[in-house]
Amino acid sequence: MSCSEPEGRGGDPQQTGVVFNIQRFSIEDGPGIRTTVFMKGCPMRCVWCHNPEGIAFERQLMWFDVRCIGARDCLEACPNGALELGRSGMTIDRERCDACGRCADACPARALELVGKDYTPHEAFQEVYRDEAFYRNSGGGVTVSGGEPSMQPRFVAELLRLSKEAGLHTALDTCGFASGTVLEKLLESADMVLLDLKHMDPAKHLELTGVELEPVLENARMVSSSGRPVWVRTPVVPGCTDSAENIASIGRFIAEELPSVERWDLLAFNNTCGSKYSRLDMTWELEGVPLLSAEAMEALAEKARAAGVPEVCWSGTTRSS
C-alpha cells in the first residue's frame, strides 16, 4: 500500500466485518451462480424479516434443540452462568451472555452456534473466490447482503474492491436506508445493485420497517443515476405489502424515476423462519399467516408489468390455490 493515510469512508484491509453467513451456490441474489456474504446488522425492523439473525449487529447465540444430546459441556464452559438446560430445553440469559462462544466450542454436537463471525476482507474474499469457475460460467459473482451491508462500509468496500480487482462480478444488496455518501462509496466497486422497495406509503413504511421512506427513495434515485444496473426487490407479504395499489405505486416510481432498473422481482412471503426467531428468543409476528396463491402473485406481477418496468419476475413459495 502506497497510501498511508487512512481514507475516511474508503475500504480498510484491517477492518474486520461481522458476517452471519457466507452462502455458496446462491441463485436468488442476482445473475448467475453467486456467493452471498451476509453482513450482520440492519437499521430496519421489518415485521416479515426472514433473516432475524441479521438484524442485530452483535453476535448472538442460537440453540438447536434437535441437535442437543444433553452433554451439558456448554453449561460448564460458560463463564457467566448464562445457560440453563431444563426439561423444556435451553434457556439463554441474554443479559448475562456476552456471546464469547465458549459454549459453542465446547458442544460436541453443534447444538449451540454463535451467529456472527469476524472476517478480514481478505479472508472473506478468499472464501468468495473459491467458486470463481462457477461465476465465470454462469455470469455470476459475489453479492454482499445482510442485514444491511452499508452499516459496515469499510469492510464491505474493501471486500468489493478485492473481488472486483480479481475480476469477479460484484453486487451490493441494500435495503436503501443508508447514508448516501456511504452508498456512493460502495458503488465504486459494485457492478450492480439489488435494491429493496417495500412500501410507497410513508406512514405504512415507517410502521412496517421502522424507518422513514424518504431516505430510501432518495438513495434509490442516487443509485439509479449512478448508472449501475439495478434489480429492485419487493417482498410481497400478506396484509403488509401485497396490495395492488402498493405494487402499482412502486411500479410508477421505478418507471418514472429509476431509469437504470433492469428487473423487478416480487418475492412471495414465506413462513419458514419461525424457528429462527425462537432460537433468538424473538417473536415471529406473522405466525400462521398463510402463503399467497400463485394466482395472486401472477396478478401482482401483471400489475407490476403494467406499470412499465422492463422485466418483472416473481418467485417464492406459494400455496396450492
Binding site: 441463485i27 452433554a71 462457477f134 418467485s315 406459494t318 400455496r319
Partner: protein, 798 residues
Amino acid sequence: MEEAGALTARELWNPSPELPPRVSQLRDEYVDIAGRDHFRNEIMPFTTGTEWDTVWSPCLWGVVPDLFPFHKAFMESLPMMATKVDLPGDFWDKPLVVRAAIFFSEVVRNYLPVQILEGELIVGGHFNVALSRAQNRKEARSWRRATMKWMKEMDFLNSHGMGNAGATPGHLIPDYPRALELGFKGLVEYFRGLGEKAESRQQKEMLEALVICCEGARDLIRRYASEARRLAGECGDEERAGELLEMARICDKVSWEPPETFHEALQALWFVHMLVMVQESYPGPGLSPGRIDQYLYRYFIGDIESGRLDRQRARELLDCFWIKPNYAYDFMYKVGRTRGITSGYGQLITIGGHGAEGEDTSNELTWLILDVIEEMNLLEPKPNVRLHNGTPPELMKRVAGMIAGAQGAPFLLNFDEASEAALRWQGLPEEDIWDYAPVGCLENTLQGNDRSGTVDVNVNLAKAVELTLFDGKDQATGDRCGPRTGDPCRFGSWDDFKRAFETQLEAMLKRFMEVYDLSDSIRSRFEPTPYLSALVKGCAESGRDVTNAGPEHNFVTVEGVAFATAADSLSAVRKLVYEDGAVTMDELIQAIEDNFEGHEKLRQTLLNRAPKYGNDDDYADDVARYLSRFWTEEVFRHRTSTGRRYRGGYLSWNYWIAYAPSTAATPDGRRRGTYLSNGLCPVAGADRSGPTAVALSLGKLGLESAPNGDSHTISFNPSLLRGEERVDKLAAYLRGYGEKGGTALQVNVIDPETLNEAQRHPSDYTNLLVRVTGYNAYFVMLGREIQNEIIARESHEL
C-alpha cells in the same frame, strides 16, 4: 413456483402421449411382463449333454455376492434343465475355442427361438441363454477345481466385508462401427485373409472359430427373414405385410452384407449386439454400444438427404430399437426382479462429445436421440452425454432442461476434459483418447479394442481402516483378515498410523489381485467367447480370445468402495487424535467396539469436530487426495498373469449398502450398519456447503490416477429447478463442474415427498426413474433399504 409437495403419478416423467401407436403398444407390451405369455426372454440353458458339462460359471458372477448362496444349485440344476444340442461328429476333436464357436453357432442356428412381435420394426427377440462352455472332461475337471478354490477365497473376502472380485462379462464397447461397415461377410473375408498368413496354431484355431461364429449369426438372422416372410403371408393387413416383407429383405441383407440405410443399420446393430449377450450368457452387463450418434450418423443423414427417410420415421425406428435392450430384464422375471439394486444392467450409449481436433461432434442425430430418450422413458439403453468445453450452449441447455424436468434424470453426464486427462495418465494412445466412451455405469474405455474389466474388483477402503484399528483382525469375528500392524494405542504419531493403514490396504489390494487373477485365468483358459472376439480389435490379429488379453488394450479396474467413509475416518484420526488430542486412540477403539453405544458424546465430536470431505475444506480434501492417490497408484503397478494391467476407479454399485453390516463402526462417527459412502459422494449429510463445494472437493483428488472415472450423484429439489433462468444456472453449474469437478455426474431431481408417496403407493408410481449409483432404476422396483437411502439423501437446493 408451487408449494413443495408430492407430485402425483400423473405429473411424473411418463412416456410421451405423442408416441406413435405402434411404439406405445410395443412399450406397453414390454412393461407388462406378466401378461406377456406369448413372449418372454427368459433364460434358456443349452448343454453338450455330457455329465461334466459347465453351463453356469460362478466366476462370471463374482461381483454379485447376492448370488453366492445359489451358485452350487445353479451349477447342478441348469445342465439338468438344459436342452441338449446336436453336435457334429468331430466336435470333441476340436480345440476348445473352436468347440465354443461351434456350440454357439449350433444353438443360434437351430435352437434359439425366433419370434417377431406385432408391430415391431426392429426384430430379434430371444437372447437370454446359458450356453455350455463346451469343455471336455479334463478341462471341466480343472475348471471345477480352480472355481472351487476361487469360491472359497471369495466367500471369505465377501463375508468379511472386504470386497469381491470376478472376471465379469460385458463392460466393453465392441467394434460395432466396423461390424456395420463390413457386415459378417467382410469380417469373414478379413479373418480368412489373416488365416492364410497366420503362422501359429493358436491364431489359426482362433480365426477358424471367428468364422464359425459369424456364419452361425448369419443363419440366425436368416431365420428372422423367413419368419417375417411367413408372417407377411398370413397377415391380413396390407400395410403390415409390406413392412414384414421389407424387414425380411433387411434381415436377409444384413445377415451377411453390410447395411446401407438407417433402418438396415439399426437392425444390424441390434442383431450384432444381442448375439454378444447370447455368447457371454449374460444379460447386457455393461455391454455398451458407445457413440451411436457418431457411427450411425452417416446412415441417418444419407437417408434423410436422399429423401428415403423422413425424420418422423427415423424417430419411430429409433423408438423401436430403444425397446429391444430392455428385454434383458426378462432374465430376472422369475428370479425376482424387485430384489433391490440388481435391477440394473447398463447397455450404455454415448452421445455428444468432441472429435479429434476438439471440435464439437453433436449432430442432428444427437438431438433426435435426446427426443427419443425423453419420449420413451425406459431403463435401457442407458444414456450418457459427453460434455466438453465446446459443447454448444443450446445442447447444454437442452440437457439441463431434460434433467430439470425429469423426475429422476435419466442421464449420465460425462466430462471430457477430466475423463481424457485420466485416460492419458493411464497411457492410452493420444490419437484415440478423444474417441473414448464409457461402459456400464460410467467406466471410461476406448471403443472397439479395449477390455478394462471395469467392475471386476471391488475393494472396501473403509475395511482397511478397521483392520488398522484392530491389528489386522475383523472387529466382529476376530478373524485375521490382514497383517499384524500392531496395537494402534501404541502408535506415537499420525505417521505411524498412516504407515499401518498403508500396510493393511496394500495387503488387501494384493489379496484381491490374487483372487481376481484366479478368476481371470479360469475364464481365459476355459471359457472363451469367440463371437465377441470377432468384434473386438486385436483378438483376430493376436490369435487370443477377448477373455485372454486378445484386445489391443487390456486392463482390470479396481473400484474403490466407501471412499469418503475411509477418507473422513482418516481425517478424524489425524485431527482429533494426533493433532488436537481431543480424543484418545484408546477411547476411540473402545467406542468402535461398542458401536458407539454409550459413547454419543465422542460420536458427536467425531461427526462435528473433524473436517469432512465434500465441503471444499482443504484439510479434509488433502487427506482424501492422499488416500485416492495412494491406492490407485499402488494398483497401477500390477498386472494379471494374462498381462492385463490394473487401474483404479470409483463405482460402488450396491456394495456401499451390502458391506455396511460387515464393516465396523468407523472413526468418522458412522455406526456399523449405516451405509458406507457411495462412489465419490461425500458421506451422506457430511457435505454442508452446497453443490459447488462438492464439485471442488472432487476436483482436488487428482482423479487422473483413477482413469475408470468416478461415480458422483447429486440431488436437487425439483421445485427449485423450475423456470428457464434456473435451467440456465444448472447448465452453468455443469460447465463449472466440467472445469473443476470429477469425470462423471448423475443428477437426481426429485423431492422426498414424491418418493415417500411412491413408497406408499408403488402401483401409481411404476414409471418413477431414479439414478442409483451409476445407473437408472425404477424407484418402486428397488429394495426398501435403497429406497430409504434415496429419500434420505440430502437434496441440494438449486
